[in-house]
C-alpha cells in the first residue's frame, strides 16, 4: 500500500508553492491581510488545515461560479424538452419495447403521448414545451442536453449520482468540490449556499449539500426561506446589542492573552478572526438576502409580482445577488420531490412550470445583462426523467409517468457552455439515450472542465488514493457543448 503521507506532502507542497498552504487556517486570507502571518512550515501530522482563499484553476476555464436549479423528483423530458411525434401518434397502443418500472403495481404497457404542444424557440429553433414560455425566450443562450443517463433509479440514489458522482451516500456534492477547488471570492459570505424551499428541508436533507469526506469548510450553508434564515445569525433577544458586545470583549481579552502565550499557533488566531468574520457575515448575509432593494422591473422579471412564481423567483434573485457578491456555488431547491409525477401529471406539470419557469429564465436574462453569464454556470435539471408509458391507467386526470434514468433532459447556460445548442438524442419514445449519451459523470467532467479543472486530477487524498468526483468511471468531456 502506498504511503498516504507522501501523497499528502506533494499536495501540501503544491499548496505552499501556491501561497496559501497555511496549516490549520480556515481564513488564511483574512489573517494575511491583517498581517498576522509569516509563512509557517509544519510537519504533516494529520488534521491539516483547509481554507477558502480564492484559488487558481490548473487550466483556463470560463466558469467562476455556479447556480444549480435542482429539480428534485424527475421532470418529464418528453413533456418539457424532448418532443416525440411517434410517441404522440401511437398514444394508447401497447409499448413495443421493454420497460423497467419502479412501481410495478401501477404499471401499464400503454404508450402515453405528450398531451401538450412544443414551440420552436429562438433563432436556433429549439423545441420547448408550451409550459416554458420564459425559457423559450432564452433558448439561444442555453444548451439543452437530451441524452442524460444515470442508470441509477430511486430518488436518493439518482440525486447522489447527479450531485456526487455515484449513487452511494457519503461522497461530496458538486458544490463542495467547486468550493474546495476554487475557494471563495468573498470574505463575508459562505462559499457554498443552499436556498431551501419554505416548506423546510428537502426530502434528503443535508445529502443535498454534504461535503462528504471533504473538510467541513466546504459544506453548503443552509439558508432557510423563513426567519432566521441562517442558524444563529442573530443574538438571543436579551443579549442583542451591548450585552453581546461586552461578552465579545471578555472573550477577545481571554483569547488574546491565550494566543500571546502561543505566538506560533495559527489556529488560535484563526478562531479569533472567525469571530470578526461572523460579525461581518451578520451584516453581509442580511444585505445579500434583502431583495426589497431590487428595482421593481427586476423583481417582476423574476416573477415576484405573481404569487405562484414569487417564491421560486425570490430564491433565483437571491442566488444572483449571492453570486454577484462572490459566492461560488448556490444550490436552489424545489419543494420536496415536486416533479415526481407518478400520477396526475396533466394537472401537476403545468403547475410546477408556472412556479419555476419565470425565475429560472430570468436568471439567464439577468446574468447576461449584467455581464455575469459568461462566468456563471446556470444548471436546470433533476435526478431522472420519466417513462413513455402510463402509470395509473385509469381516469385521465390520474395519469402519470414512472421513473426513467436511461434517458432524460437538462439544460445549462453560461460559464462557457454554448447557447442555442441541442445535444444528444433519445430513442423514438424518449426512453433511452441513444445518440451522444451524456452519463452523469460525463456531465461532471465537462462541468469541472468549464471551471478549468481536470476531473481526473482534482481530487482529495483518502484511504491512500486520490478520490475524485468522477471516481474512475471513464468520464469524457463533452467538448461539443462548450463554446
Amino acid at each position: 500500500m502506498s504511503n498516504p503521507h507522501s501523497q499528502l506532502c506533494s499536495r501540501r507542497h503544491f499548496l505552499q508553492s501556491s501561497g496559501f498552504g497555511l496549516g490549520g487556517l480556515a481564513f488564511a486570507s483574512l489573517l494575511r491581510e491583517e498581517g498576522l502571518l509569516a509563512a509557517p512550515v509544519k510537519p504533516l501530522l494529520g488534521g491539516e488545515g483547509f481554507d477558502l482563499k480564492p484559488k487558481v484553476p490548473s487550466a483556463t476555464g470560463k466558469a467562476r461560479a455556479m447556480i444549480s436549479l435542482f429539480m428534485m423528483g424527475g421532470p418529464s423530458q418528453m413533456d418539457l424538452f424532448d418532443p416525440k411525434p411517434e410517441l404522440n401518434k401511437r398514444h394508447g397502443e401497447k409499448f413495443p419495447g421493454q420497460v423497467v418500472y419502479d412501481n410495478v403495481a401501477q404499471a401499464s404497457p400503454k404508450i402515453f403521448g405528450c398531451p401538450w404542444t412544443f414551440a420552436k424557440s429562438g433563432q436556433c429553433g429549439m423545441e420547448l414545451s408550451e409550459w416554458l414560455p420564459s425559457l423559450q425566450q432564452v433558448a439561444d443562450d442555453i444548451t439543452l442536453i437530451r441524452s442524460m443517463k444515470s442508470g441509477v433509479s430511486n430518488h436518493l440514489q439518482g440525486m447522489l449520482a447527479m450531485l456526487t458522482g455515484r449513487g452511494t451516500v457519503g461522497r461530496p456534492t458538486v458544490g463542495s468540490w467547486i468550493s474546495y477547488a476554487l475557494g471563495s471570492e468573498t470574505r463575508d459570505l459562505p462559499a457554498f449556499v443552499v436556498l431551501a424551499h419554505p416548506s423546510g428541508l428537502p426530502t434528503f436533507q443535508h445529502q443535498h449539500w454534504t461535503n462528504g469526506w471533504l473538510p467541513s469548510t466546504y459544506q453548503g450553508t443552509l439558508v432557510q426561506a423563513k426567519y432566521p434564515y441562517i442558524l444563529n445569525l442573530d443574538a438571543p433577544a436579551q443579549f442583542a446589542g451591548k450585552p453581546q458586545q461586552r461578552q465579545m470583549e471578555l472573550l477577545d481579552a481571554l483569547n488574546q492573552q491565550h494566543a500571546a502565550q502561543y505566538p506560533g499557533e495559527h489556529d488560535l488566531r484563526a478562531r479569533i478572526a472567525s469571530y470578526e468574520l461572523a460579525g461581518r457575515m451578520q451584516v453581509a448575509a442580511k444585505e445579500a438576502l434583502d431583495i426589497e432593494s431590487e428595482p421593481e422591473h427586476v423583481q417582476k422579471l423574476y416573477g415576484l409580482d405573481h404569487p405562484v412564481s414569487a417564491d421560486y423567483g425570490r430564491r433565483c434573485l437571491i442566488a444572483r445577488r449571492l453570486v454577484e457578491r462572490g459566492v461560488r456555488f448556490v444550490q436552489v431547491l424545489n419543494n420536496g420531490q415536486s416533479w415526481d409525477h407518478h400520477g396526475s401529471i396533466i394537472k401537476a406539470l403545468p403547475e410546477r412550470c408556472a412556479e419555476t419557469d419565470r425565475g429560472s429564465a430570468a436568471l439567464v436574462m439577468d446574468l447576461k445583462q449584467r455581464g455575469l453569464l459568461d462566468s456563471t454556470v446556470v444548471h436546470w435539471g433533476g435526478e431522472m426523467g420519466r417513462l413513455p408509458v402510463l402509470q395509473n391507467d385509469g381516469a385521465r386526470e390520474k395519469w402519470g409517468r414512472d421513473h426513467n434514468t436511461y434517458g432524460f433532459s437538462q439544460w445549462v447556460a453560461g460559464g462557457g457552455f454554448k447557447g442555442g445548442c441541442v445535444y444528444g438524442e433519445t430513442d423514438e419514445w424518449g426512453h433511452h439515450a441513444v445518440k451522444d449519451v451524456v452519463n452523469h459523470y460525463d456531465w461532471h467532467a465537462t462541468l469541472l472542465h468549464s471551471f478549468g479543472f481536470d476531473h481526473e486530477k482534482l481530487g482529495f487524498i483518502r484511504n491512500g488514493g486520490n478520490r475524485t468526483l468522477t471516481d474512475g468511471q471513464g468520464a469524457r468531456i463533452v467538448h461539443e457543448i462548450l463554446a
Binding site: 457519503g170 444563529n232 488560535l268
Partner: protein, 241 residues
C-alpha cells in the same frame, strides 16, 4: 504502574515551556504537545460537565433527537400538532444532557452542536477527523440556545457552590473554565462587567416583561451566564494544550 507513569519526569513536564515556545513558536520540531481543538463530542460534553449538568448515566437506550423550528437538531422530543408539524422541542428530560455518544445518530439529521464542530460523517466510514475553524462555529458559540442554556447552568452552579460571594464565584468560574485563577485586573474587570451586564438585562426585562406563567427573570444570574458563555467559548476552554 499508573503511579510510576504519573511520577515520571516526562509526564510531569509542562508542555508549553517558554524556551521551547521562544525557539520554535510554530512547533516545527515537536518540542511540545501540539495544541488541538477538542473534537465535536468533547466540546459538547465538556461544556455540560463544566456546567455541572452532564448526566453520567451509562448504557441504555439512546437519547432521541429532534428538529426545532429554527432548523436546529437537538437532543429532545418533538412535540407535534395535528398536522404532524413540529411545534416545539421538549428538552426538559435530564437525559438530554447525557454524553454525546448516547445521542441518537440519524444520517439525515446530524445534531447541530456536533455537526458544527466537525462530527465525522460516518457513511460509509471516517478515516481521519478534520478540525475546521469557520464562522458558523463562532456564530454557534455566540448565539446558539445550547451554549446559552449551558452557560446559565454554569452560573447556577457557581451560585450554588459559592453562595453570596461574587468574587468567589468569579474565581470559581475561572478555575473551572480556564484552569487558573483570574489576575487581579481580570477579576475586577469581570465583576464590573457583570454589574453592568446585570443592569442592561434588568432594563431589558422591564421593557420586555416575561409571560405571566414564566418564572421571574433573574438578571444577575443571566448576566453571570452571559459572561460564563464567553469563558466557555474561549480558546483555552476549546483547546487541548
Amino acid at each position: 504502574m499508573h503511579r510510576e507513569m504519573v511520577m515520571s519526569r516526562t509526564y510531569r513536564q509542562v508542555s508549553a515551556h517558554p524556551d521551547s515556545i521562544a525557539k520554535d513558536p510554530e512547533n516545527v520540531w515537536l518540542g511540545r504537545f501540539r495544541i488541538r481543538r477538542l473534537d465535536a463530542e468533547a466540546v459538547r460534553d465538556s461544556m455540560l460537565a463544566t456546567a455541572g449538568i452532564l448526566q453520567p448515566e451509562m448504557f441504555g437506550a439512546p437519547v432521541s433527537i429532534a428538529r426545532s423550528n429554527e432548523g436546529r437538531v437537538v437532543a429532545g422530543v418533538e412535540v407535534l400538532n395535528a398536522n404532524g408539524d413540529v411545534t416545539k422541542v421538549d428538552n426538559t428530560a435530564p437525559a438530554v444532557n447525557r454524553r454525546s455518544i448516547y445521542l441518537q445518530v440519524r444520517r439525515k439529521t446530524p445534531v447541530t452542536v456536533l455537526d458544527t464542530f466537525d462530527l465525522p460523517i460516518m457513511d460509509p466510514n471516517c478515516e481521519v477527523r478534520a478540525a475546521s475553524t469557520v464562522a458558523p462555529q463562532a456564530l454557534f458559540l455566540m448565539n446558539d440556545e445550547f451554549v446559552v442554556r449551558v452557560s446559565r447552568a454554569l452560573a447556577e452552579r457557581l451560585r450554588r457552590e459559592r453562595p453570596g460571594d461574587a468574587r468567589a464565584q468569579a474565581r470559581r468560574a475561572w478555575e473551572l473554565t480556564q484552569g487558573r485563577l483570574p489576575g487581579a485586573v481580570e477579576e475586577d474587570r469581570f465583576l464590573a462587567t457583570w454589574s453592568e451586564q446585570t443592569e442592561q438585562l434588568r432594563e431589558y426585562a422591564v421593557k420586555h416583561p416575561p409571560a405571566k406563567d414564566a418564572p421571574a427573570p433573574d438578571s444577575q444570574l443571566d448576566a453571570l451566564g452571559s459572561l460564563c458563555q464567553a469563558l466557555l467559548a474561549s480558546n483555552r476552554f476549546l483547546h487541548l494544550e
